[in-house]
Amino acid sequence: MGNIITVQNLTKRYGDKTTVKGISFEVREGEVFGILGPNGAGKTTTLEMIEALRPIDDGEVTLDGLDVQKDAAKVKNIIGIQLQSTAFFDKLNLREQLRMFDSLYGETTDPDSLLAEVQLTDKAKSYVENLSGGQRQRFSIAAALINKPRVLFLDEPTTGLDPQARRNLWDLIRDIKKKGITVVLTTHYMDEAELLCDRIAIMDGGRIITINTPANLVKELIGRGFTKTQQVEQANLEDVFIDLTGKAIRD
């Protein structure tokens, strides 16, 4: 599999503060690539530069052979973006929202089939402001899929969701991957990264510290002689919660 995204020496400065310090990495076609890191590590800024939403101060990003800075318009046509602060117009129902975005791309995606894909068929006539957190994230992903993108960017898609809604969203992301769409996501949840991501980049202080598969990262750590002081339980509290409340989504 070839690389669909190549990032070289990517840098972002705000005044005398450098938030992204010359990072380089590749994303392979068809994989789920995770960017992990504490708040302020530069994850969102990195994503927004790759998405042609923020000017690149230094370095180069190539997406499906296109230079992101020079061909921003072409790049926007082949990517789908779910932003951290998802904001859609108010007083516009889901079907109308999707129809509007559909016209912006000049494609002919059927809004209803897309809503069915994210299990929002019965909400077609609701406004975004009346959706629950999980529904809103699913809708946000549906809107990002309207132009049949080759790469889907998800910025902290499960932050603030209840365990059921998170599991539901994981299933959705797996379905998207099955269709051959490359997914780049950021998250604070390690279990999520471990379950969804084929490879992970860990960022801190504007730099990428390491890139590998989740399994290899764990192996590397153990290879360095790491041991946990506490015996790992066979189940954790979240398992208890899901066991007691079920997997069905509530919204």
């Binding site: 926007k76 516009l92 912006l104 791309y105």
Partner: protein, 368 residues
């Protein structure tokens, strides 16, 4: 190109759907100009003044005429407006009901005739729409002149009064004021509405989401313009309806001409709102800037106060304010039935402003 316009239309449609669902916004958007119209329209339609305000023009050099002017200044039945020095201005003032009549002393008035006594006829201009005040003044003046005639002891009365009605027929003061009120509505709709709504959409991140799609700043601006053009037109139509039903508005010009001119005017005024709202990062910035930009136009473009009452140097400067040609043009269409062809200078000035303001709006637009 077709795709380009499709994107604009799709976004404008989304704005339209949202706008008509926001009942509160609808209410205030359309009700405010109407309330405003009621208040200012009522002020200008009632004209139950009993004192006679006149403008006096003396074109005669005779000492009799000069004496007459001096005496009239101290007369109690006539209040001579001394600020008016130009006949056309006086005519417009009379049209607006600010003076009741114009008295003109022609060149030969008061010049001694063959018998060596002052003679001639003064002209009393009145408005065809309200002939009573003109006739009354003429009667008063005839009485005065008869007294002088008798004292002169001539068999043929040498002094007299000629009455003339002016061309501002069938028009009420309201008809003159209305274009100013329309102009004020376009100004407030155009600047304040957008200057509020655009930063609000930046704050929610709705613009940021749009930016992820292939839409450009110019397309977003034109989509907004298209949407607000509709709102502006609805507002103007409502105002004209109220003007016709409540204030007996007289339209002398062509409705299609007015509609075309109003559309061009709306495009210009909303350009300011788009530039301010597109530039501002938040409502504080846009509120301050929209006040700075709208205040000169609010007071100096002829919305409430007719520009001809200003000193001439101020008239020369304010003629170039963007709102001035819009109000002037609308008034000329309404009261003088001018055509778009007659309004070339106004349209030219509006056109220049449109190019300038949309260029600025696209350049200074910020997505966040």
């Amino acid at each position: 190109m077709k795709r380009y316009i499709q994107i604009i239309l799709a976004l404008a449609k989304a704005y339209r759907l949202r706008f008509f669902r926001d009942k509160t916004a609808l209410f205030f958007t359309f009700l405010f100009p109407l309330l405003f119209l009621f208040v200012f329209g009522s002020l200008n339609s009632s004209n139950s003044d009993i004192s006679f305000k006149v403008a006096l023009f003396n074109r005669s050099d005779s000492s009799f005429a000069k004496d007459f002017v001096n005496k009239s200044q101290s007369d109690k039945t006539l209040k001579v407006n001394k600020d008016v020095t130009d006949f056309n201005t006086a005519r417009e003032l009379m049209g607006r009901g600010e003076i009741d009549s114009i008295i003109e002393l022609p060149k030969e008035f008061g010049v001694p005739n063959n018998n060596g006594v002052p003679s001639g006829k003064m002209i009393v201009y009145y408005q065809e729409a309200s002939p009573q005040s003109g006739k009354t003044i003429a009667a008063v003046m005839e009485g005065v002149l008869d007294g002088i005639n008798k004292s002169l002891g001539q068999p043929e009365p040498p002094l007299g009064v000629t009455q003339k009605s002016t061309a501002t027929s069938n028009l009420s003061p309201f008809d003159y004021v209305f274009s100013g009120l329309l102009g004020f509505t376009l100004l407030s709709l155009g600047i304040f509405g957008l200057a509020n709504s655009m930063p609000a959409e930046k704050k929610t991140g709705a613009f940021k989401r749009l930016r992820a799609s292939p839409i450009t700043a110019a397309q977003l601006i034109f989509a907004n313009m298209l949407h607000y053009l509709l709102i502006g037109l609805i507002s103007v139509v409502l105002m004209i309806a109220v003007a016709l039903l409540v204030f007996d508005f007289n339209m002398r010009g062509d409705w299609l001409t007015l509609a075309t001119f109003v559309i061009i005017g709306i495009i210009l005024m909303f350009g300011f709102g788009l530039a301010i709202g597109g530039w501002a990062k938040n409502e504080n910035q846009s509120a301050a800037l929209s006040n700075i930009i709208s205040f000169p136009m609010m007071f100096l473009s002829g919305t409430f106060f007719p520009r001809f009452l200003m000193p001439s140097w101020l008239q020369d400067i304010t003629a170039f304010l963007p709102l001035t040609p819009i109000i002037d043009g609308m008034r000329q269409i309404i009261t003088e039935s001018k055509t778009l062809f007659d309004l070339g200078p106004e349209l030219g000035l509006i056109g220049i402003w449109i190019v300038i303001i949309y260029f600025i709006a696209i350049r200074v637009f910020r997505w966040e």
